[in-house]
């Protein structure tokens, strides 16, 4: 087995849906042994809108690569006892259950620490473990609303809009992964584990902190500005051929960089604008933005977004084609970099998944297929707890583990 950054770290993964599963998948890519502990029948998101009835949902597949699966009934006393025996042999436990559930199961941090003082327990919650909202349920969009990102996304004359990317869910998982590794590093000095807590609302506030500037400057809330960058021309999404829903290119010429404006007008064949009084600097361009945006749009409309990006990108002007989700999986750059991985899934066959978004030169991160529910139950129980085939068969017969 190839040596990887987190080789030797064992994670008991109690997570479900997105905010937790995305954390443990990341640690799996980095080399940790992630043992996903699922209730009999499997974690709920396996059945979250399965596109083909009876098969694991794509929802599950995009968040559960690089893990092993064990099914274990934590509502069964014997299931909990087995879990605690596994905790003795693990480094990390991650959970993102609804508030209070782990306490009701008698599996809070104090209990885990009592059986293994080296255990790091990461708890991912909507609003955290304390404070006035801590019992409130959360989802990605709830965290987006209460973390501030929704208030600044959208157009000035319209309602707040949610951000498509799941910064409340996956964003939180990413923060939790960082915290777990920091605790692991600390444990190598102290010999002791600790409790790690991440709240989705706080994670969203961390993502959006750079947009709180208006508040500090004016004492007033930051406002919605659509796609404009105040003061930037060009600065926004410009329409491209053939005029479909996502046929736009986002172009931005930095306001303080007059050379970049020169590169831009050269690229669109409008050097005449260099002598145009409307284009003396960023300020005059902003004052005449409507007329100039029309000139720019006339050029972009005559090209596809990919042509616009190639021509401007080669000229050193920041430009991005607005890619949709189907185009992402086909994107030549992501594919050339090996960022889109093809896995062979036991029931779904070949599936393309985005791989590990961080590259470590000494820790390769291939994507392995997400496990079927309980696929590794016997293997893990034998390996971690030394249970015999007969003992496992007995547990199975009594419904403590499946299959």
């Amino acid at each position: 087995m190839t040596e990887r950054a987190l080789s030797g770290m064992r994670i008991l993964d109690l997570t479900q849906f997105e905010a937790g599963t995305t954390c443990t998948q990341f640690l799996g890519w980095l080399g940790a042994d992630v043992v996903k502990i699922e209730p009999p029948g499997g974690e709920q998101s396996r059945r979250n809108r399965p596109e083909v009835p009876g098969l694991d949902a794509m929802f599950f597949l995009v968040f559960n690569a690089n893990k092993r699966s064990v099914t274990l009934d934590l509502k069964h006393a014997e299931g909990r006892a087995l879990f605690l025996r596994m905790v003795e042999r693990a480094d990390v436990v991650v959970e993102n259950f609804a508030p209070g559930l782990m306490e009701r199961l008698g599996l809070d941090y104090e209990r885990l620490r009592a059986v293994n003082p080296r255990i790091i327990m990461a708890r991912i919650k909507g609003f955290g473990l304390s404070g006035p909202y801590h019992e409130y349920k959360s989802f990605d969009m709830i965290a987006q609303a209460t973390g501030g990102v929704m208030s600044v996304t959208g157009f000035p004359d319209r309602e707040p809009v949610r951000c498509g990317a799941a910064i409340g869910d996956t964003g939180t998982g990413v923060h939790a992964a960082a915290a777990i590794m920091a605790a692991y590093i600390q444990r190598q000095r102290t010999g002791e584990g600790q409790l790690v807590e991440v709240a989705m609302q706080e994670v969203v506030a961390n993502f959006v902190r750079g947009r709180f500037v208006d508040h500090y400057r004016d004492g007033a809330p930051s406002v919605r500005r659509g796609n404009d960058i105040t003061g930037g021309v060009p600065g926004g999404a410009y329409p491209c051929a053939p005029g479909g829903l996502n046929d736009y290119a986002y172009i931005y010429v930095q306001t303080m960089n007059q050379d970049m404006w020169g590169d831009f007008v050269a690229a669109i064949g409008r050097e005449d604008l260099l002598a145009d009084a409307r284009c003396t600097d960023a300020k005059t361009r902003w004052a005449h933005r409507e007329a100039l945006d029309e000139i720019i749009s006339a050029w972009t409309r005559a090209r596809t977004k990919h042509q616009v990006m190639a021509e401007l990108g080669k000229a050193g002007v920041p430009c991005g084609a607005v890619l949709d989700t189907a185009e992402i999986l086909e994107d030549p750059h992501l594919n050339a970099r090996g960022q889109i991985h093809t896995i062979e899934h036991a029931t779904r066959g070949r599936v393309r998944l985005p791989g590990c978004p961080v590259r470590l030169s000494a820790s390769p991160a291939p994507t392995t297929p997400p496990p079927l529910a309980g696929q590794h139950t016997a293997e893990v129980l034998a390996e971690l707890l030394g249970l015999s085939t007969d003992e496992i068969a007995d547990l199975r017969a009594r419904g403590v583990v499946t299959p």
Binding site: V161, Q339, V351
Partner: protein, 397 residues
Amino acid sequence: MPKALAGIRVVDLTQYEAGPSCTQMLAWLGAEVIKVEPPGGEAGRTALSDRRGEDAWFFLLLNSNKKGVTLNLKTPRGRAMFEALVKTADVLVENMGPGAMDRLGLGAEALRQLNPRLITASVKGFGGGGPYADYKSFEWIAQAMAGAMSMTGAPDGPPTKAIGGLADTGAGLHAAIGILAALVQRQTTGVGQQIEVAQQDAVVNLLRIHLRDTYASGRPVPRQGNRSVNAAPSNIYRCRPFGPNDYVFVHCATVDMWKTLTTIVGRPELGDDPGYADRRDRVKFIDEIDDMIEAWTEKRTKHEVLEILAGAGVPCGAVLDSTEVLADPHLTSRGMIVELKHPTRGTYPMPANPVRLSDSPTEVVRAPLLGEHNAEIYGTLGYGVAELDALRREGVI
């Protein structure tokens, strides 16, 4: 006070947001982060300021808990001092334009010849290899190129950028993960390595959930404003006094949540109607359901609605604006918003570290003034007061 990353020294060559968000997180976790800026200060400190000569708010938000030194890397003396610093470091982070570090002669391999244990991390727009490698990027470009913009906005409107640092802070956080993993690996191998994060990759990671609809249909995920094609109710609803952010987001995932909601808004018969039991089936009645909820919310403020619905177990979030976030009673009671004092900017509220480690508490310390720690850091490298004065006169620091 114990800290998870105590003893780790980070040389921080970052600017704007994608790099500084990474090193700020490492600093919160206890690393000693030394921000090395050109003698005039990094662009995020100067170019984005609302007041000439004053550190930008943007800078203060992304550079807490760091030490600041100035250094002109283009002078031979400055270069020698930088190399001395690198030899004492565990990690170096940069987010310069494509190829800039190589042009300075500070590529990852050159740095590791100076210090084989050094972990180097680069945050780039598109990353090396692949057709877009040389293209410039920043937040909105990466949002466009990763699919985020295509799925944000109203169904009848254009693709819309999301105003959170998905690509900048997002890539910074991903880089922090790479660095932490490499620190763990170094304890086994004894040597550093190179970490690379592309903003485009990081944003794809943040929205991977939405790819599932593309797998099922082979088609792009559409813009849906705030609604969901898979669940109702899942939308924002107007509240009193009808200001630009007087809305709540309500989402019912389970039948219990739906039953509770219908009871609260005075329509319990819908909670018992089997035709409305499944969140996907309810999408058929989406207009009726949205009207029903808004008729109830628009009699109340968003904070009242939050307390009633969330308190009853119905997932609900008030749409807080930036001012409200900085004053939110929950965030302030948890210490997520802290008050900092700055020598020239005065007192200001600051979003703190969103990850909590029970044995590594984060005390947030304001961002450094330009070159504030020159004497302290260069002192540890053996530079005396007279020597530093001379270097200052020569424009090296």
